[in-house]
């Protein structure tokens, strides 16, 4: 009898033993930091050397929201998001439609299009920088193309703001396209071909078929891509570093995530409280945009469904 209860106890404990490693790692490096970051962000005048602070309040948030570096990072990030998310989503939709309409070379092209996903962002960013950079020796490959078409060459890496923004947008789009193309081609492939056959017999035009069949069928996936695209673009950092180097404030190209790391570490670092406040501001922005996206997608999918009953 005693041995029986002993066995029972062991059986009860065993699942937790299996979960223990995951719990230890996640507890220390994910759950605890979650509370800790909130506390940091509320401790005023925190000193990382003596680990003391002199008050509790919202000062850190006020400081960050008034810091010109943060505001410029905010502006850069928003511009990056507003340009790259629609362009990359639209472009990947066009490419996926193209891929789905061909048979020859389809596998080959799919493989090629996926390549940027498996590259090291920092390493390939260097190649982009070289292609766009203007040096005393050469205007750089991209500028030569611009000149060939009759334009004036621009210093994309150390030149005007919009030129730098163009490079970083192009590189970001280049990096995020593989994931979107992959998701959209499989979404397009899973649309029931019978739907098209039926529409063809009815003599429906291609454009109408696209808006009436294809788009409604893949719209959940498009919304998924828009949401993950927003989240990813708001966290832009390593691709910007790859093009402009570590000192992003000097280049005027810092992003919100870059600002967080600058506050934490490096020449301008040592302020975990400011970093925490900035990280929480970023989290709130991303959360708000995700919720808005979800609401829009909910409404849209129900209206699309309603439309199909007409």
């Amino acid at each position: 009898m005693e041995r029986e209860t002993d066995k029972m106890k062991r059986a009860d404990l065993k699942p937790f033993l299996y979960l223990l490693p995951a719990f230890v790692f996640l507890g220390i490096f994910m759950v605890y930091p979650l509370f800790d970051v909130l506390i940091y962000s509320l401790e005023e005048g925190y000193n990382s050397a003596s680990q003391t602070f002199h008050g509790v309040g919202l000062y850190n948030y006020r400081y960050v929201l008034r810091d010109p570096y943060f505001l410029s990072a905010l502006q850069n990030t928003f511009i990056l998001v507003i340009i790259t998310v629609p362009v990359s989503t639209g472009l990947s939709l066009l490419i996926s439609l193209g891929l789905n309409s061909i048979q020859k070379f389809r596998d080959f092209l799919q493989t090629v299009f996926f390549l940027p996903y498996v590259t090291n962002t920092l390493a390939v960013g260097l190649v982009f920088m070289i292609l766009f950079k203007k040096t005393p020796y050469s205007d750089g490959f991209v500028n030569l193309i611009i000149q060939f078409f009759g334009g004036r060459s621009v210093d994309f890496i150390e030149g005007p703001y919009w030129a730098k923004m163009t490079v970083i947008c192009l590189y970001t789009i280049w990096i995020v396209m593989p994931f979107k193309i992959l998701i959209l081609t499989s979404a397009l492939a899973s649309v029931d071909p019978m739907l098209y056959k039926a529409a063809q017999i009815d003599g429906t035009s291609r454009l109408r078929m696209f808006f009436r069949i294809t788009l409604p069928m893949i719209s959940p996936m498009i919304f998924y891509l828009i949401i993950t695209g927003f989240i990813g673009a708001f966290k832009a950092y390593s691709d910007v570093v790859a093009i402009f180097g570590v000192n992003l404030n000097a280049a005027g190209m810092n992003t919100i995530v870059g600002y967080i790391y600058d506050m934490l570490y490096g020449d301008s670092g040592g302020y975990p409280s400011f970093a925490s406040a900035a990280a929480l501001i970023l989290f709130v922005i991303v959360l708000t945009i995700t919720v808005i996206n979800l609401m829009v997608s909910r409404r849209n999918s129900s209206s699309l469904k309603g439309g199909s009953y007409e």
């Binding site: 790692f25 220390i28 994910m30 930091p33 020796y137 950092y237």
Partner: protein, 292 residues
């Protein structure tokens, strides 16, 4: 008769239209392929040009007639590229191995074992997926610094081990293994551990291979965490190494040698991708987004 003619005419028109559409589609797909491939071509090409010939080309040539491997020699001798490479290899292997152990055990507990509060626990667990790295990295930086683990492998590895998403992915797969097998094994007196290794893991091998490869890609491209936690070159990973080469370089602006380093860093993942193409693309489409 005239009706017949009209019919064939419209058919020909239709055919012509389809032809144009195909040509336009083909053109734009080929154009995108060129845009994707060009940076790769450019880095290989530049890495094969000699320093002097690269710098003497005001209009860069799209080919080279006198390829040299000197840049590759420079990349390994003038900067500690071999060291960066070895560090990344150690980091990737240990992190991936630990991740596998943690993930398999946790996924098995959630999928097969019965214990009170399992559903609540799993829901909380899933909620962790929504937490962005940026939010927790600040505390982790402080933690690792407090533990005096800056510029060490444990400092690099420990925060990167557990991944909620991979546990979730494997748990879903484990649950597809029929429960009857488990009950039969229980009747035979097989222990849980033995069952896990003899039955579950072999059946779910494809998913395990997928998460292994995804983790390897993630480790190989890791940049932000290693940058925060290492400032000693002896512990740099390839991403930090290439950034270091870019900022301080070869003593002079030696772009061909930089490109040789870029090729060396990019090659392993591209080879891995070409071998496991199907598996990687399937794994990524099941929910991987490109991590920083």
């Amino acid at each position: 008769m005239s009706e017949m003619k009209k019919y064939t005419a419209s058919q020909a028109e239709e055919k012509r239209k389809a032809g144009i559409r195909r040509a336009v589609t083909g053109f734009f797909l080929a154009l995108w392929a060129v845009i994707v491939l060009f940076p790769f071509y450019w880095m290989v090409l530049t890495s094969l040009k000699s320093y002097s010939s690269y710098n003497s080309e005001y209009i860069p040539k799209l080919y080279t007639l006198s390829p040299t491997l000197q840049n590759y020699r420079d990349a390994f001798t003038a900067v500690p590229l071999g060291q960066y490479f070895l560090n990344t290899l150690i980091f990737t292997v240990i992190t991936t191995a630990l991740m596998l152990v943690v993930t398999v055990l946790a996924a098995y507990a959630f999928a097969r074992l019965k214990f009170p509060g399992k559903n609540v626990l799993f829901t909380l667990f899933l909620a962790l997926m929504m937490i962005p790295t940026e939010l927790v990295i600040i505390t982790n930086f402080v933690t690792i610094t407090d533990w005096n683990l800056r510029n060490t492998f444990p400092g690099l590895i420990l925060p990167s081990v557990a991944s909620v998403f991979y546990i979730y992915l494997l748990k879903e797969n484990f649950e597809q293994v029929p429960e009857d097998l488990y009950l039969a094994a229980k009747v035979d007196g097989t222990s849980d551990m033995r069952y896990l290794f003899r039955v579950m893991i072999p059946i779910c091998r494809p998913t395990i291979v997928t998460i292994t490869i995804l983790k390897i890609i993630e480790c190989w491209n890791a940049y932000v965490w290693p940058r925060l936690i290492t400032d000693n070159q002896a512990y740099f990973l390839v991403s930090n190494g290439i950034q270091e080469i870019r900022e301080n370089g070869f003593g002079r602006e030696n772009i061909p040698a930089m490109m040789a380093a870029v090729v060396v860093i990019s090659a392993p993942l591209i080879v891995l991708f070409l071998i496991f193409r199907k598996r990687i693309m399937e794994g990524v489409s099941r929910g991987g987004t490109k991590g920083a």
